[in-house]
């Protein structure tokens, strides 16, 4: 199963969740937010949200700006 995480192609185990992806990719679990195929996934749902094959995951954080 494949997905794109911030435009990087990654290989995932079948049945992987958003939480699995973040952990595997080494993202911290605070200070970030996740969109799955353009929709926000609340932190409370990370562990229960499956990542479908071909999904586009975006991980966001705060940077200097404005």
């Amino acid at each position: 199963m494949r997905a794109k995480v911030n435009d990087v192609e990654v290989e995932l185990a079948e049945g992987g969740t958003v939480e699995d992806v973040l952990r595997e990719r080494g993202y911290p679990d605070s200070g970030v937010a996740v969109a799955l195929d353009g929709q926000l996934v609340r932190r409370s749902a990370w562990a229960s949200t499956d990542v479908p094959d071909g999904a586009r995951i975006e991980v966001f954080t705060a940077v200097q700006g404005g």
């Binding site: 911030n6 911290p28 966001f60 954080t61 705060a62 940077v63 200097q64 700006g65 404005g66």
Partner: protein, 251 residues
């Protein structure tokens, strides 16, 4: 706290809101933020690398400055609403500086998308600080939509052209039932002072400090400019006259 700035349920003793964009590095930014005396400072939302944050949130936390996430870079209501929700999730705050611009060249707010996004975010429980044009009618519409502050531009973002239509800013102030924050276009301290003399409740600026030759010194100038303008507004200036009026007694 004497003469606090009140936005929604929060009080601030500083009336200078800072941005973090444009600083050469975090050390320069830190010195500028401290010199400015700010208590509320914007950050942008961008894709994270696997290290996570860029250090700016840690810096604000250490300086006890409240981060104000923005929706910079968004050109549609849908994008801005998603970005606001991502910011709420990442930063654990329902405050958002709403910014929906029409194009990259002018960075002027798109009024149609802006109002639409403001309505949706207010509905969704956000405390919305809306970056807007210097348009008194749009400012009123945003206030009616329930934003916590309207933030008209003095001139386009990053131009340093100052306040191009002071009368419009006064019209916005005269009718606003929410705080008015002059946001964007400030180039130097006299313009920050003018914003306050026109009756604005606060000033938001970034480039004029972070891109100044000496950001720390300019931050201090802005702090004092905002304070001077606020005092002058409250003090009641003399009316302007055509002919001279002696200030010394006749002999």
């Amino acid at each position: 706290m004497p003469d606090p700035l009140v936005i929604a349920d929060r009080k601030f003793s500083s009336r200078l809101i800072m941005g973090t964009g444009g600083a050469a590095n975090l050390a320069v930014l830190e010195r500028a933020l401290v010199a400015s005396g700010t208590e509320l400072t914007t950050v942008a939302m961008r894709r994270a690398d696997t290290e996570g944050g860029t250090g700016v949130l840690d810096l604000l936390r250490r300086l006890d400055i409240t981060p104000l996430p923005n929706t910079a870079g968004c050109q549609s209501a849908a994008e801005a609403v998603l970005t606001a929700r991502l910011a709420r999730e990442a930063l654990d705050t329902n405050w958002i500086k709403l910014e929906v611009v029409a194009d990259e060249r002018t960075l002027l707010p798109d009024p149609v998308e802006l109002l639409e996004a403001a309505e949706q975010l207010v509905q969704d429980g956000f405390t919305v600080l809306a970056y807007t044009n210097d348009d008194p009618v749009l400012a009123l519409r945003l206030a009616e939509a329930g934003v916590a502050a309207v933030m008209p531009l003095g001139s386009p973002i990053g131009t340093g052209l100052g306040i191009r239509n002071p009368h419009n800013i006064e019209l916005i102030v005269a009718r606003a039932n929410v705080p008015v924050v002059l946001d964007a276009g400030i180039g130097t301290a006299s313009e920050a002072a003018l914003a306050m003399e026109l009756g604005c409740d606060a000033v938001l600026l970034a480039s004029s400090v972070t891109r100044a030759q000496d950001p720390e010194r300019m931050a201090e100038a802005m702090r004092d400019g905002v304070r001077a303008g606020r005092l002058a507004r409250g003090a009641g200036r003399i009316p302007q006259r055509f002919w001279a009026r002696a200030s010394s007694p006749p002999r």
